[in-house]
């Protein structure tokens, strides 16, 4: 990246936050001025806001921090919080910025403006951290890994894979990288016919390095299930559930694979766990209902079918509503 654009990226987020906050401060400045003489503590906070508005952030910050400690006028606190974020970011004081964000969220929970600014603040802090990583340790595996993840998100699959491979060249036994490579291979929109096999090898290598990677076990289970290698699928899903007792999808995969092998009674327990872990997942209820029904437990099956029916008919999580009001394209 050219220096000019690097500079722009470095300061753009801060500039954006400043602009956003400036608008908020101006909107409330009349109210703040009116209330300035009501009490002395408020007066110092108001002074901090005025200083921040004038760009005197260094001086403003100590005064604005007082607002977070004192009880007082809510609107004034709100304005002080916004001004505090702006000044903390301008003065490159991330801890202070986070404190102001926390303060605003504590005092004004669910306030859309507060939430909006929170997103931008965290995003800006995240960008700064990534810039620092790029500047301080551009050849570190962490920098390559982060870059790979970012490239993957942009759909630059080959470039991302190259970055992951660079990480592995530096650290051949670094946990997680083979998993990410396998994931990348399966996520590509036009996978080569060999993609599944290549991905499988990556997940297997991951498990050689890190036998505790439940995700790798799970994906190997899914791959095996789709290739109708059901005993393998069951083994992988079982290991995934043992490695991560909160991994609902792995319990569901195990139950579904057991159903496919007609082990209906055995399927019930993992599917019950899946339902407990993911009560809003219609697929878990559906598979449990099928297992119960085919194991002869018809009444319990009917209950689960009813739950599934209710969830799918009402457009519960994981199922789009049939009564959708917003038109959409067929696919």
């Amino acid at each position: 990246m050219a220096p000019a654009s690097f500079f722009m990226f470095k300061y753009l987020p801060t500039a954006l936050i400043s602009t956003l906050l400036f608008g908020l401060l101006c909107k409330a400045s009349g109210q703040v001025a009116k209330r300035a003489s009501i009490s002395e503590p408020s007066s110092s906070v108001q002074q901090g806001i005025t200083l921040a508005k004038g760009g005197h952030c260094k001086e403003a910050l100590p005064l604005l921090k007082k607002a977070t400690l004192r009880a007082g006028d809510k609107d004034l606190k709100r304005q002080a919080g916004f001004a505090g974020i702006r000044c903390a970011m301008t003065e490159n004081q991330p801890d202070a910025a986070i404190e102001f964000v926390r303060f605003l969220n504590r005092e004004f929970p669910h306030d859309p403006e507060v939430l909006y600014i929170s997103v931008h603040t965290y995003s800006d802090l995240s960008t700064r951290a990534s810039q620092e990583l790029a500047m301080r340790a551009p050849n570190s595996y962490q920098a390559h890994k982060l870059n790979a993840e970012s490239l993957e998100l942009q759909g630059k699959w080959d470039a991302a894979a190259k970055e992951y491979k660079l990480v592995l060249e530096q650290n051949p036994r670094l946990p997680g990288i083979h998993f990410l490579l396998g994931r990348l291979l399966l996520s590509k929109p036009d996978p080569a016919p060999s993609a599944a096999e290549e991905a499988k090898r990556e997940f297997q290598q991951e498990l050689e390095i890190d036998p505790s990677n439940a995700g790798a076990e799970y994906v190997l289970g899914e791959l095996a299930r789709q290739q109708n290698e059901l005993p393998d699928a069951i083994a992988h899903f079982s290991r995934a559930t043992k490695l991560d007792a909160g991994f609902g999808d792995a319990f569901l995969g195990l139950g579904a694979a057991l159903i496919s092998t007609k082990k209906f009674s055995e399927a019930i327990s993992p599917l019950e766990t899946a339902v407990k872990l993911e009560p809003q997942n219609p697929g878990a209820h559906y598979n449990l209902a099928i297992a119960l029904s085919r194991a002869g437990r018809k009444q319990e099956a009917e209950r689960e079918f009813a739950v599934h029916r209710q969830m799918t008919q009402k457009g519960g999580p994981g199922q789009e509503s049939q009564q959708a009001t917003q038109p959409e394209n067929p696919n």
Binding site: F6, F9, S123, S126, T127, S130, Q131, L133, A134, P138, A143, L146, N147, E149, S150, L151, E152, L153, Q154, A159, E163, R183, L186, S187, P189, D190, P191, P193, A195, A196, G215, V219, E222, L223, Q226, Q227, N228, D249, A256, S260, P282, G283, H285, Y286, N287, A289, S293, R294, F305, H308, T312, Q319, E320, Q322, A324, P327, E328, N329, P330, N331
Partner: protein, 575 residues
């Protein structure tokens, strides 16, 4: 490091393990359909396309596409093989769009009846036969509802459907009002079958959704601001119809009394089959964006809906899919009727093996049909033995309903190729790539009918194309094996012998077939059944188990091969 600098925050925010894990189920190991057909001479391909210049079928379907994107524009239409003049040669019927509340074409559109000229060509006899219809047509179902020996036509339409009675002299009469079969609404597929075993053909008519010009929804915009066809999820489901044949040219709407009317759906395809071998014909119905139906016939004119418990209503993860074409056949030769449903792209089609206990297992994964159909949208389809080796193969006609789909999903195509799966007796092999250039041609296929138009024992295929010319495919390989074609005529049982069981043995080959009602999408098939026996020289015996109320089993030996015969119920001999 441009990726790192510009995008890292997004990556950390949105790339969760959960979303990845959810996504992989649909993205694994799709090897893609080869569009490259092996360079073989035409005659060697299993199927070759008969051009309109050769066949004389110059009629073209007009979808009536409008900027408003009225949904029925993208769903039609159907086609049929039928022998309307009883000359022993299959004629062809093709359904078109037409006048309705959102379309008033000038000049008017019409359906087409083509008479088989017995020399590989067809002659348009629509005007003489008076079967042009003119409404917004969808499908066609052929059946001899009055038992006079001549097949009648039921045309489903958006608006009002039509029953054409075959006068037996090459003409038809619209008897819809007298019969009480107008079925106002959006009718799609229809199936003639005898649900109460009284020896008369009743009629099941699928209804899609509640629709009118004013209810049409606008979706999109897509590329260049164009609007797309909306997903059917946005429309209200409607119950289908069941009409009981009174035997006097009239029908009674028994939708509510039978239990079928209790279930609003969005029905596209239907097949009448017997899933539990109790002698009562059940109905499997493909629904779009809502669960499929399996109406189990419990006798006394009543049906129970058992699709969920049977495992055929939803995908394996409990989601309703976009069920469209359906069929039923005993593809694994275990004596129990299996099911098939085609869905839309990224849903995979399902091939359901009957477990003999009113439950089914989806074998889409193990058979490879799931992976092969992952990006396809399927409509017309049929199990039949194209190479007459004694195993039931599978033909699929495909095409995405959304003409803007390629701007939304780069892997999915609007026009899609036909597919052919050969049943080896152990598995299904995707033989599309070596079955002829027709299988490499992108199409907006909808209806699909099977029929032997040249009477060579090799079952041919007719594919109707949305907004395009139909495709007639001649089968070049079926006649390389031995076969026997049978036409069944019911006397006590229903005239078309829907529900009849045919068992036969040729040396080591023992097979069972059922004559189902309907199957595919909006289409109707050659009523004759071709029994393939491979290279075996003769059929040792053939048994017909006639449907109730006949119910008798007739056994035949000393049968010819490589020709068609007619078996009339109760005669004890073939002719």
């Amino acid at each position: 490091m441009d990726g790192l600098i510009s995008q890292q925050s997004r990556s950390l925010l949105s790339f969760s393990r959960r979303s990845f894990l959810r996504g992989i189920a649909g993205s694994l190991a799709f090897s893609g359909l080869s569009r490259f057909v092996r360079a073989l001479p035409d005659a060697v391909y299993p199927f070759n396309e008969i051009s309109p210049a050769v066949s004389g079928i110059t009629w073209v379907h007009t979808a009536g596409k409008s900027p408003e994107r009225y949904l029925p524009e993208t769903t039609g239409a159907g086609c049929a093989f039928l022998d309307y003049d009883n000359d022993g040669w299959m004629d062809i019927y093709l359904v078109n769009s037409g006048k309705c509340d959102f379309l008033n074409p000038n000049p008017p559109l019409r359906n087409a009846l083509y008479r088989n000229s017995r020399d590989g060509t067809f002659t348009d006899v629509t005007e003489t036969a008076r079967v042009g219809a003119g409404g917004f047509g969808q499908g066609v179902a052929v059946g001899d509802y009055d038992g006079d020996g001549f097949p009648d036509l039921y045309l489903t339409q958006y608006g009002r459907s039509i029953l054409y009675h075959n006068n037996g002299d090459g003409t038809f009469t619209d008897v819809t009002e007298k019969a009480g079969l107008a079925a106002p609404g959006w009718a799609s597929s229809a199936v003639w079958f005898d649900y109460d075993n009284d020896g008369r053909l009743d009629l099941f008519v699928c209804q899609f959704v509640e629709f009118s010009k004013s209810l049409n929804k606008s979706c999109g915009p897509g590329e260049e601001g164009k609007h797309g066809y909306c997903i059917p999820r946005l429309y209200q489901p409607m119950p289908s119809w069941l009409f009981h044949n009174n035997g006097d040219g009239t029908f009674t709407d028994v939708s509510k009394a039978s239990g079928i009317g209790k279930y609003p759906g969005k029905a596209w395809g239907a097949v009448a089959t017997d899933v539990n071998n109790d002698g009562l014909l059940d109905l499997f119905v493909g629904n779009d964006t809502v669960p499929n139906f399996l109406f189990k016939n419990v006798g006394q004119g009543r049906f129970e809906e058992i699709a969920t418990q049977a495992g055929v209503a939803y995908s394996a993860d409990g989601r309703a899919r976009s069920g469209m074409g359906v069929d039923s056949a005993d593809f694994n030769e275990d004596g129990w009727m299996d099911l098939f449903v085609a869905n839309i792209d990224r849903e995979m089609f399902s091939i359901y093996q009957n477990n003999h206990d009113e439950t089914f297992d989806d074998l889409a994964g193990p058979t490879g049909i799931g992976a092969a159909t992952r990006l396809m949208s399927g409509w017309g389809l049929k199990f039949f033995d194209y190479d007459n080796d004694g195993n039931l193969d599978l033909f699929l006609a495909n095409g995405n309903p959304d003409d803007l789909i390629e701007s939304l999903h780069n892997q999915v195509k609007y026009q899609e190729p036909l597919m052919l799966f050969r049943n080896t007796g152990k598995s299904f092999q995707n033989v599309s790539a070596e079955s002829g250039p027709a299988f490499a041609k992108p199409l907006s296929a909808r209806g699909m009918a099977i029929g032997d138009f040249d009477n060579d024992g090799a079952v041919d295929v007719l594919v109707s194309v949305n907004d395009g010319a139909p495709m007639l495919l001649r089968n070049n390989v079926g006649s390389q094996n031995h076969w026997l074609g049978i036409r069944l005529v019911g006397k006590k049982s229903n005239p078309d012998a829907i529900g009849a069981r045919i068992n036969y043995q040729a040396g080591d080959l023992k097979r069972s077939r059922m004559k189902v009602g309907g199957g595919s999408y909006l289409s109707s098939h050659d009523p004759r059944i071709v029994l393939g026996i491979g290279k075996r020289p003769k059929i040792d015996w053939l048994e017909i188990k006639w449907p109730q109320p006949g119910g008798a089993v007739e056994r035949f030996t000393e049968l010819p091969v490589n020709r068609y015969i007619t078996i009339v119920e109760g005669k004890g001999k073939w002719g």
